[in-house]
């Protein structure tokens, strides 16, 4: 799964000279939390987040009058508060690599560049949706969590047993176990009963940690 498959194309951008107040309004109207900032030639020169804008605005507790405040805010432009060092990815960056960059740098979105051009943006929200997709959060089925030995062929044994019962795997996720000798697998299946699965897992000597209908 690569960035290109889940990014937003044609992201909302903003010219460098835009007043902070207008940028905040654009964000609210378009429902985004960050905007790539473009210069007059359409080149990306920075990125600005809603938080950058909120921190730039003087606190409501300031002693400035409402007129002074308004004046200051409309004069302050996004290029004065944006981040100039923009971390970007390419359309062929793996999705988990984009997610790793976001967590490691504590940022919520990455512009996607191809041949020096801005072609999209991938955000925390996009990653979140993929996460729901991976674990079948919106599908109904029987959801099992199992402890499985960290050994070659275990995943094959598990999926084969489900296939032999006529079950359809809707989602499957592998997690780190409590120690390096075990892994935790969460699997969502349909067309098979809990009793059948319990018997099959017992035959394989796998421990069911949790079972629920969703």
């Amino acid at each position: 799964m690569l960035v290109r498959e889940r990014m937003s194309r044609r992201p909302v951008t903003i010219p460098a000279g835009t007043p902070v107040t207008d940028a905040l309004r654009t964000m609210r109207r378009r429902g985004v939390r960050r905007l790539p900032v473009l210069d007059d030639n359409g080149r990306m020169v920075g990125i600005v987040s809603e938080k950058d804008l909120l921190y730039a605005a003087p606190s409501p507790a300031t002693s400035l009058s409402i007129y002074e405040l308004h004046d200051r805010l409309t004069r302050l432009t996004v290029d004065e508060v944006m981040s100039r060092e923009v971390i970007t990815v390419g359309p062929d960056t793996p999705l988990e690599e984009a997610a790793r960059i976001m967590t490691d740098h504590k940022i919520g979105g990455l512009p996607v560049m191809e041949d020096g051009r801005l072609v999209g943006i991938i955000t925390e929200t996009d990653i979140f949706k993929v996460f729901l997709e991976m674990l079948g959060a919106r599908d109904s089925g029987l959801r099992l969590t199992l402890d499985i030995p960290e050994r070659k062929g275990e995943m094959a044994r598990l999926t084969t047993a489900i296939a032999e019962l006529g079950g359809n795997i809707l989602a499957l996720g592998t997690f780190l176990g409590d120690d390096p000798t075990t892994a935790v697998v969460t699997v969502k299946v349909e067309d098979v009963s809990l009793e059948q699965l319990q018997a099959a897992m017992a035959d394989l000597d796998l421990t069911i940690v949790d079972a629920r209908e969703t």
Binding site: M1, L2, E5, E50, K51, L54, Y55, S59, P60, A61, D92, P94, L95, E96, E97, A99, R100, M102, T103, E124, T125, I127, F128, K129, V130, F131, L132, E133, M134, L135, G136, A137, R138, R143, T145, K152, G153, M155, A156, L158, T159, T160, I162, A163, G166, G167, I169, L170, A171, L172, G173, T174, F175, L176, V184, T186, D191, D210, R212, T214
Partner: protein, 198 residues
């Protein structure tokens, strides 16, 4: 995977009598984006985000600007259910309750880390993405072939495909030869989308 396995226990909280400035100082010190608000008895009565605080006056009491309708989960909520609640309500953290008491918090950041774990993002291996026909038993075929080659599956995830007849699978494997793996998958009827070592 349940909330209890990946939540933060003993979350940092703020008293409802604290000021906005005090709450912001706590948020900054602990690098948080949200604070559960508790009363004198330690009962959860609200939640406040960094953004709510930035929009408020510094000497306002937290109680005046917090969100009172707090959406919570329990330790036994499925992790993807917590993620679904966050996505549907556009919120990025959920207090975790047990018998009416606050016992933890689960945030977008925790789910992000689980996402990396699911895709084995921090482990080296051969990473293969392919379109798999939407038929029963295909995942079993795939995993059996990898096992037969002596490969070890580090991570396996399924995604929506290009249309309802297929789905996309990303698998990370160690101890296999990439070219051989690709050839075998193609023979099984998989369409290879991307291959890389990382």
């Amino acid at each position: 995977m349940l909330v209890v396995e990946r939540m933060t226990t003993h979350p940092v909280t703020v008293s409802d009598e604290a000021t906005v400035a005090q709450a912001l100082a706590i948020i900054e010190e602990h690098k948080l984006r949200h604070l559960p608000v508790v009363d004198k008895e330690g009962a959860l009565i609200g939640i406040i985000s960094e953004k709510d605080l930035l929009r408020a006056k510094e000497d306002d009491p937290v109680a005046g600007v917090m969100t009172r309708e707090v959406i919570t989960v329990t330790e036994y909520t499925a992790i993807e259910e917590a993620a679904r609640i966050m996505a549907d309500h556009q919120i990025s953290s959920l207090p975790v309750m047990r018998d009416g008491r606050l016992v933890g918090i689960i945030t977008e950041t925790d789910l992000f880390n689980i996402f990396l774990e699911l895709l084995a993002a921090r482990e080296p291996g051969l990473r293969l993405t392919m379109l798999v026909p939407e038929e029963k038993g295909m995942l079993a075929n795939l995993t059996n072939e990898i096992a037969a080659m002596g490969g070890n599956i580090l991570a396996l995830s399924t995604f929506r495909g290009e249309d309802p007849t297929n789905r996309m699978v990303t698998v990370k494997v160690s101890d296999v030869d990439g070219d051989k793996l690709v050839a075998i998958m193609e023979a099984l009827g998989m369409e290879i989308v991307d291959v890389r070592e990382d």
